[in-house]
Symmetry: C2
Subunit: 436 residues, 2 copies
Amino acid sequence: MRVLSRDLDQHIGKTVAISGWLHKRRDLGGIMFLVVRDRGGVIQVVVKDPDEQKKLEGLYAGTVVQMTGKIVSEPRAAGGVEMHSPEISVMMPISEVAPIEYDKPIDHTPENQDTLFDNRVYNLRNPDEQKIFRIRASLVRYIREFLTDQDFVEIHTPKLLPGATEGGAEVFKTDYFGREATLAQSPQFYKQMMVGAFERVFEIGPAFRAEPSMTTRHVSESTMLDIEMGFIDSHSDVLDMTQDLVYFALTSVYRDHARDLTALGAPELVLKPAFPRYTVAEIHEMYSKATGEKTMGEKDLFPAEERWICDYAAKKLGCEAVFATNFPIENMKFYHMIDPKDPKTVLWADLLFRGVEIATVPQREHHHDKLVAQMKAAGLDPAAPGFRYFLEAFKAGLPPHGGFGFGLDRFVQKTIGLQSVKEAILFPRDMKRLTP
Amino acid sequence: MRVLSRDLDQHIGKTVAISGWLHKRRDLGGIMFLVVRDRGGVIQVVVKDPDEQKKLEGLYAGTVVQMTGKIVSEPRAAGGVEMHSPEISVMMPISEVAPIEYDKPIDHTPENQDTLFDNRVYNLRNPDEQKIFRIRASLVRYIREFLTDQDFVEIHTPKLLPGATEGGAEVFKTDYFGREATLAQSPQFYKQMMVGAFERVFEIGPAFRAEPSMTTRHVSESTMLDIEMGFIDSHSDVLDMTQDLVYFALTSVYRDHARDLTALGAPELVLKPAFPRYTVAEIHEMYSKATGEKTMGEKDLFPAEERWICDYAAKKLGCEAVFATNFPIENMKFYHMIDPKDPKTVLWADLLFRGVEIATVPQREHHHDKLVAQMKAAGLDPAAPGFRYFLEAFKAGLPPHGGFGFGLDRFVQKTIGLQSVKEAILFPRDMKRLTP
């Protein structure tokens, strides 16, 4: 019966079996110190018997082993225990040295990124690297838990579409039995359509963008969290839901993964249940006053302003998540709702977290005729195949609604404090990278 | 403060507000009987006041309304209550009749399918249709819960690949910044690679297949559940995990959604915690003996045999899920493991449920050199870009492992007893259908 490394401290003084990978080996004065890795962590194994040592001759990290030995208390070891005098059985011998070392702290500097991604199969065997993806899985789990409790229905919408849904941005195209199909850049239209059925829906799935940009921020395939909710009384209902979701997910993950987050060098979480809210105009004013720097006037926020307001809110208000509201109409999408009280601005907020935007949180225009007018004003053709069924949902009757699109990869990146969004993705895709 | 229709029975005798869609209206002798739909269900509303009735003049199903009225007990109504004498407020008037009626039982006959899918935006407003997708969301939730409890890590693997991963079958292609990329037909290679990192992984995501087939079984985009687990002692470990997962998910959903499943005409669940297991050869023999019909000898199962064995197991053993094991090597994939005890067969089982295969559950060949040999024997080039990193994972050391790929759409279909897999998909995609 196999025992996982994380449970070995319950077996002190007993002889048990472990299975895993040979992770590290040192030979010191005739004594072999091994580290064995399994899904529960790592365990140090001390081998003195020359016959047992011989079984590992010429074998390297990655070798799959089974070991049966005595568990002894060892305060200096990770987990407080180690295994002594094992009987070793080699399940899969590995006699080649791995192209990269994966038993050391990871070099995450930009110059080393390509090496890490080229050797991702090995690199992901590093327990530190794995922490990122265990935290990611936890975030996703808490997000789903929150949304399910709030009556959201999880949906799966098609990724093969008859046309570019939002126009403009670059899309991947494919031949679809003689017709042209595009890969979904977001489930935007489908989630709005589904407000008419379920009121509240969410989806976590891939989104594709053929952006020819080589930065630490751009990937061609990302995982998006999308939610949409109907029957809102006002835009602030959507902000409340977003804030409650983010607060729940972050505090839960910081509680469950405290040690891993520290090991990864994540910053301390500075969060309050109610995130401060400022209009873009207010942020411009506060920023100019505090720094003496110029802003874009009534227009969009500069990256420096996004960093400044998060810093400000963290230090003065104890919350590093901030909503910037009332974006100017210049940058609006045709499906956003113009603020009836301030028609130069849109009912669109950005959720800023640790200096960057992590989600766009707008209310939608839910009146069919206004939506068609906004579509035309944006130079789009309401009769295009990608728009027909979207507009049909409005003809069928939609209540006031809003939601957000949320790059999961970036959220993971900012939660942990990773330099590049690509480090938060198992197998990232960018302009140059289509493998592994 | 809005009250959902499902909670109104806690407000009998009180005046409350509801919001939703006008779902149905009948005018009988000066009294208006309305049905209002919200995400909690439907509620009947009785309107006698001519001024209130006037507010709905010329308005049809889909009209978004708010109503404040008195909740009274009415045993004949769905939910046991109805609303009387409301004050009505129209939030979004709909003055066109919907192209299909969605307040009636759904006509699911094959001839009506295209009408349903063409009008999916309306059709999904039918509470009966919604039941399918609430059950689907529940199945997914219980599957995730089970796998998370069993230490599986949820992963997101890329859908844009450098080549067709499994060779042979038809793939969608796209231009990827001047190179050719294909859309993933499954996360097969990635999940096996990730056994080397996390031991146990799962993914729920889209898979794409450019199969030019127009049947009730074929779709070009489907949602797949994929799991993979390492350090198995034998193939039966994988069957055990599969069986426990399916048993947990099905019994949980049949418990939670009993009423909805009955309304949808789902068959009664006939399941035991341990699913019967027969080799393909045994099924051939049992089937021939019982029916006098011929079989394919040592080869694959006929559809009639799949139906027969499920029927047999349901009636004789009280379990309509059956494993057919030891498939003949003729149909093996190169990454399957040949049974060392019976080299004419493969350590590959099919999970049959209600007469059809819903999952293929094999053990994988985990020895690098044997795998390369099987690859070459299958006419594949181990040096192709789609294979390089897959093989690298074996060079890095993989333990014995297995898993399954599971068409979520088909599982939902068979759970509910739907005629076509497309009915289990919100917006199905097939050779002819790329919209809505």
